[in-house]
């Protein structure tokens, strides 16, 4: 296992799609390679930060327009 292979398998490693041998080889490499350890850690944090981020509330103007448009169209009987 080398650093290039860790990068190539990064998503499978983070998403849990690796067979146990490959997983173990990566974990052994991570114990000894500071750069790869940090790369895995900061990539994982990148995903978590985006995944946990709440979308901002819509501005009152945008929200009103969206709901008015929907109300107008949804109240029309289907032709």
């Amino acid at each position: 296992m080398n650093c290039k292979n860790v990068v190539r398998e990064l998503c499978n490693y983070l998403d849990g799609g690796l067979d146990s041998n490959l997983q173990q080889s990566i974990e052994i490499h991570l114990e000894h390679c500071e750069d790869c350890h940090l790369l895995v850690d900061t990539t994982k944090k990148t995903i978590q930060i985006f995944c946990n981020s709440e979308p901002l509330p819509l501005s009152e103007d945008i929200r009103t327009r969206l709901h008015e448009a929907l109300a107008k169209r949804l109240s029309k009987p289907k032709s």
Binding site: V7, L39, T43, T46, L58, I62, R65, L66
Partner: protein, 208 residues
């Protein structure tokens, strides 16, 4: 025997199980129940549309059209996936149609994208335990929106669906008309690029 939740009023049900009740009611034509689903997902759908189109007006149109289409096609929704996943697919289609109509360079989502198999990350620094907590919520949202907006659309879209909207790799591939290997390759590149962009905000010593 009646289903266990047949008599549960929407207000008494938990947010997770009451979605099915609202979807069923909306399917039967209950506009108020559908409005509840709109309230629940409007911010996420608008953010998705904004990330794809990179334009506030287009994002408004896309959100509106996506919800209307969802309402019209609710009878076709079989419940094989989460309602939200189904809604996301509709919104993605609407957003891509909007982009194609614009006929800009940005519309190259399905072209071959250079993914450089030998791409090696740079700027590998320690971020500390919870780097995002050093920023106020609004400030963090601004940073995330800025860095994702800097990504190539082909990478941005895959990251958006896979890691923000939490679709599976297969669902992402289906929604974008890409192969699974293409999704995986773009996802890797998107994650690495975003990590690198966030590094300037989160590396130890910058925000602490």
């Amino acid at each position: 025997m009646e289903p266990a939740n047949a008599k549960v009023a929407p207000s008494q049900a938990t947010p997770i199980d009451n979605e099915a009740i609202y979807v069923a009611a909306a399917k039967a034509g209950d506009v108020a129940a559908f409005e509840d689903l709109v309230n629940r997902y409007e911010r996420k759908i608008f953010r998705l549309a904004q990330h794809i189109t990179q334009n506030t007006e287009d994002a408004q149109d896309v959100s509106q059209e996506a919800f209307l289409k969802a309402f019209e096609h609710l009878p076709d929704f079989q419940g094989n996936s989460r309602f939200y996943t189904w809604l996301v697919r509709i919104a993605v289609n609407q957003a891509l149609m909007k982009l194609r109509k614009r006929r800009t360079k940005e519309v190259s989502l399905d072209e071959d994208i250079e993914t450089e198999d030998n791409f090696m990350p740079r700027e590998i620094e320690d971020w500390g335990p919870s780097p995002e907590q050093h920023f106020a919520q609004g400030e963090l949202a601004g940073i995330l929106s800025r860095v994702i907006g800097e990504l190539d659309p082909a990478f941005r879209l895959v990251f958006q669906l896979r890691d923000i909207d939490e679709l599976s790799t297969e669902e992402t591939a289906e929604a974008l008309g890409l192969s699974v290997p293409a999704v995986k390759s773009r996802l890797l590149r998107a994650r690495l690029k975003l990590r690198e962009k966030l590094n300037r905000y989160f590396q130890r010593g910058v925000s602490q």
